[in-house]
């Protein structure tokens, strides 16, 4: 089972915090800090698996992460998941983001943090992977988008302007 999906940047600023177990806010931040502290100092030449995280899951848990530009995508899973499979899954998730945002970058994640949640929801639900097919994922995401298009129009304009500004 997947226990948690975290996205944070190199400084440890959270971009997405999703726990599939109910954990208090303070504990969530503690886990985030701990994992960032371990991962941030690992160079890319080291393997992307870490075993046994003290604060979440204990010895059965594994931390599997991938480093994309400024961001770390971290999955905390237990031993029933395949390490290499999860690595592929992270890639699928990032590709799904890329399809939705067209050339996704950290700013997209900052300003659409809720949308990242909705995309993740189509890949992982209740700690289990429900879809690994990119086409299916983006179809479900766009179906959700269709229903809120009118409401979100102004805010998207604002962000579009900002992207040029930043």
């Amino acid at each position: 089972m997947i226990k948690s999906v975290l996205i944070f940047n190199q400084l440890g600023k959270p971009r997405l915090v999703k726990f599939y177990e109910q954990i208090g806010t303070a504990a969530q931040q503690e886990i985030l800090r701990e994992i960032h502290a371990i991962i941030a100092k690992r160079p890319d030449t080291q393997c992307n698996f870490l075993e046994g995280c003290q604060s979440i899951g204990g010895p059965d848990s594994r931390i599997i992460y991938r480093h994309y530009a400024t961001l770390y995508f971290v999955f905390v899973v237990d031993s029933s998941e395949s390490e290499l499979g999860i690595l592929d899954l992270i890639q699928v998730f990032v590709e799904a983001l890329d399809r939705v945002f067209e050339n996704v970058c950290e700013l997209d994640l900052i300003f659409h943090f809720d949308e990242i949640h909705y995309i993740l929801m189509e890949v992982v639900s209740a700690g289990m992977v429900i879809e690994t097919n990119l086409a299916e994922i983006s179809r479900a995401v766009s179906e959700g988008k269709l229903q809120i298009k009118p409401a979100s129009e102004p805010s998207r304009l604002g962000i579009g302007a900002l992207r040029g500004f930043v």
Partner: protein, 848 residues
């Protein structure tokens, strides 16, 4: 009033990095008033912003009620925001959830698929036992939804509900089986995921699904699901061995054909872990040759650990270690590759490689592996060692391969002395990372693992892998300096073990021990119970016990009175003093061989200085009131008694020697010549714990008849029977009392049938009672008068694996007790290549 949208908030946060906390505080106040507004849109925007702040670590539970309000919004976008907020911040005690039951029920049966989807996702996340019970049927109804997209979410949601509402499992199981036949592959995949999770807790219940899963394994092309099924079978094969045979075909097929590394890896892993490689059916490899599945796995694994991708290397080594546990012969050939992985910059890969390589140790490869590991210890940043002259393997084993040339005759002030500064530095300052950053070998955990692996490889199966014992002792001594972690106790034990058990290495070992003890820096670093002290204790014991093997040296006595002696704890001090007595007695014997006026002079001088040293120690122990006037007899014995007792023995010996040498005589005084026999009359040899059983029973010896009358059981008078717990403590005094009769009894103790007799094993007693029996080592040793068979070494020492300290003390006391003129010392053993005594694997030990 103008409201900030979510992006306004985020932009504001980015603009106010300096006073972020103030800004967030202000925003929180705004949100607080916004959620009170009746306009649903403002409310949902406020909750949206709260979601963001929650991610940053701010508590948002005060808005729980408003979250439920937003969840009830008729507009999908707002509803979704509400559900997200609930999923992120609700917990088991959130009371407003009760209000949401009907709301969620309504959304589950909504005609809008997106609403159903959001509700399923939210419910899975926030489910409490009450919600799960109330909504289980509603969620089950959704399983029949026309959209596969909803069906798969319903499946995983139901899994979460079952966790909170276990009674629902009966209803879910048939549904799961049905979903395995779903036309949509994602739904099947989700069902498999749920089955995998459920099977983790109780695999037996899911065995009936095996045929269906097997069918999927053969027909599906969804790699993610195949991985899940393959992993599930790894947990099913141990409970249903017939599966292994069944899986053999499809797994080898997948291994041969799949191009996905993740699937290939899981197949190999399951084949190894599920013991499918044990099925003896041939498979055809890529060129059509028939090979075994195990061999195919081993071959395919090389793709992983020889890969340039560090992730593949890591998992490859993980599985290689598992393959090694089952089929070591398939792994041995990979020695070179794994050795390369030992130098990987990644610590995780290194530790995996380390465990594999230590399992690969053979007589041929041991020296090379140890050399590589030793050089890692030395070359790390924490230890700046001079090109070590006493590094086995590093300097000279290049040429002679397995045996290391080590010069035992080197003076005592050489490399051993200089290296410590650095070794010590490593303990004091763990990280002197150079500009290159900390090397993996600097990690204390890794160093500990390296040291443990080296020792394990060398000592495995009674030193089966060792060719040269002197090399091993030298390596242990090097580890004392280079380990940089707290392994002194282990190294001390191993030094003792090898020296005691391997006769041929004793002379070499004692030389190195003398050198260790004369290394002032090393000695100055010892203090009570620390790593160095443990090693020095072992060194002191070896020097004392085997001092007869080397020419005596009066300086050895003072080596055993190091300045730090008083800082050590009682047992350690006692070891040192006992060793000093032995060395002193041996020296006396040695010098009396050249008796003359000069020797007489020397003996008196050394004796006087030793006596001064001892008196000083005794007086120092008496406290600070120790001015010159205090006489020894007035010094009250103080704890630790074992030290006090030995010091006084030694003082008496020196007194006796001083009386005997008061006048220059023509020949050496008898005392000086014979004192050493106190300690050397018998050679202490380790004996296997099972040795006694191998001594044949002489004719006419009846061990089963009771000797004398049975001792009446007085326990119930002395100690009233209830409560049951103190029965063992009640037995203890009897054990002591009965010792004399035991010693006089010939052979096994007669059965008395007493329940309280700690040595009487009643069949009715369960193992719990046995566990409460006193330590076996407390049982006094019985001397067998075997007549003609008497050449066997006495089984004075049996527990080989005890701590060196305790063992040595036990040995001394017993040795002193057994001093008797009755029998000669055992005959020296016949010359043998290398013998390792005291092990069950060597049945000949006690027959010699």
């Amino acid at each position: 009033m103008f409201e900030k949208s979510l992006s306004d908030l985020i932009q504001g946060l980015r603009a106010n990095k300096r006073n972020e906390v103030d800004y967030i505080q202000k925003s929180l106040e705004e949100i607080q008033s916004e959620v009170q507004l009746s306009d649903m849109r403002s409310k949902s925007t406020a909750i949206d912003k709260l979601n963001y702040l929650h991610m940053l670590g701010y508590d948002t539970n005060w808005a729980n009620f408003n979250v439920v309000e937003v969840m009830a919004s008729p507009r999908f976008g707002e509803k979704r925001t509400g559900y997200l907020a609930a999923a992120q911040s609700f917990h088991q005690e959130t009371d407003v959830l009760m209000l949401a039951t009907n709301l969620i029920r309504k959304d589950l049966s909504s005609s809008n698929v997106m609403e159903v989807s959001v509700a399923l996702d939210g419910l899975a996340q926030v489910a409490t036992p009450e919600l799960a019970t109330d909504l289980f049927d509603d969620a089950t109804a959704v399983l029949g939804h026309s959209r596969p997209f909803i069906r798969k979410k319903a499946l995983v949601c139901l899994y979460r509900l079952v966790l909170k509402h276990p009674e629902g499992l009966h209803a879910l199981a048939p549904q799961l089986r049905e979903r395995l036949d779903d036309p949509d592959p994602s739904v099947v995949s989700s069902a498999v995921s749920v089955i995998c999770e459920l099977a983790r807790t109780n695999p037996t219940n899911y065995l009936p699904l095996a045929p269906k899963l097997y069918h999927l394994l053969n027909s599906s092309t969804n790699n993610w699901m195949l991985i899940k099924i393959v992993k599930l079978f790894a947990s099913l094969t141990p409970i249903e061995p017939r599966l292994a045979k069944k899986l053999h075909g499809p797994l080898s097929q997948l291994i041969c054909t799949t191009s996905a590394m993740s699937l290939l890896y899981e197949c190999i892993h399951t084949a190894v872990v599920g013991d499918i490689i044990g099925v003896s059916e041939p498979v055809a490899d890529s060129v059509g040759r028939e090979i075994e599945l195990a061999e195919l796995c081993a071959r395919k694994l090389t793709l992983f650990y020889e890969s340039t991708d560090h992730n593949l290397r890591y998992v490859g080594l993980v599985t290689l270690a598992q393959l090694q546990a089952r089929r070591p012969e398939l792994v041995v050939g990979q020695y070179e590759t794994v050795l390369k992985c030992l130098d990987d910059p990644d610590l995780s890969i290194r530790t995996r490689a380390l465990s594999v390589i230590s399992g690969m140790a053979t007589r041929r490869t041991l020296a090379r592996t140890v050399k590589r590991l030793m050089s890692q210890l030395i070359l790390s940043n924490t230890i700046r060692l001079q090109p070590a002259c006493n590094m086995p393997g590093v300097s000279n084993s290049e040429h002679n391969g397995d045996a290391v040339d080590f010069n035992p005759g080197a003076p005592t002030t050489d490399g051993a002395g200089t290296s410590l500064v650095n070794a010590r530095g490593s303990i004091m300052q763990p990280r002197q990372a150079a500009a290159a950053g900390p090397a993996p070998a600097d990690s204390p955990e890794y160093r500990l693992m390296v040291v443990e692996s080296i020792v394990d490889m060398c000592t495995r199966q009674s030193y089966a892998n060792l060719v040269d014992f002197e090399w091993y002792v030298a390596a242990l001594v090097d580890l004392v300096y280079t380990a940089g972690v707290d392994v002194g106790r282990m190294l001390g034990e191993k030094l003792l073990d090898v020296t005691v058990r391997v006769r041929q290495v004793r002379e070499f070992s004692i030389k190195l021990m003398r050198r260790l003890l004369s290394d002032r820096q090393l000695v100055s670093y010892a203090s009570a119970g620390n790593s160095t002290a443990k090693v020095l204790c072992a060194a002191a014991y070896i020097l004392g016990e085997y001092c007869t093997l080397l020419p005596a040296n009066s300086e050895d006595v003072s080596l055993l009175f190091p300045p730090c002696l008083s800082e050590l704890d009682g047992d350690e001090q006692a070891t040192f003093i006992q060793a000093a007595i032995k060395v002193y007695a041996n020296w006396l014997r040695d010098v009396t061989g050249y008796w003359g006026p000069e020797v007489w002079e020397l003996v008196r001088e050394v004796n006087a200085s030793t006596m001064r040293q001892l008196t000083g120690l005794l007086l120092a122990r008496a406290g600070d009131g120790s001015d010159e006037g205090v006489h020894l007899s007035s010094v009250v014995a103080e704890l630790p008694l074992q030290v006090d007792c030995r010091l006084r023995h030694f003082v008496e010996i020196t007194k006796a020697v001083s009386v005997a040498t008061s006048n220059l005589s023509d020949s050496a005084p008898q005392l000086c010549q014979e004192l050493h026999e106190l300690f050397t009359a018998y050679e202490l040899n380790p004996v296997s714990a099972a040795a006694q059983g191998k001594v044949p029973l002489p004719d006419g010896l009846d061990l089963d008849t009771a000797i004398g009358c049975p001792i009446p059981d007085t326990t119930h008078i002395l100690f009233p029977p209830p409560p049951p717990a103190p029965s063992v403590s009640a037995a203890q005094p009897r054990q002591r009392d009965s010792q004399p009769s035991k010693d006089s009894s010939n052979g096994r103790r007669p059965r008395r049938g007493s329940k309280n007799d700690p040595f009487y094993l009643d069949n009715a007693r369960d193992s719990r009672d046995l566990a409460e029996l006193p330590d076996v080592d407390d049982i006094p040793v019985v001397h067998l008068d075997l007549g003609g068979l008497g050449d066997a070494p006495k089984p004075r020492k049996s527990g080989k694996k005890k701590s060196g300290k305790g063992r040595s003390l036990a040995k001394h006391s017993r040795k002193n007790r057994t001093k008797s003129p009755r029998s000669p010392s055992p005959s020296p053993p016949p010359p043998a290549p290398v013998e390792i005594a005291g092990d069950e694997d060597m049945p000949d030990t006690d027959k010699r």
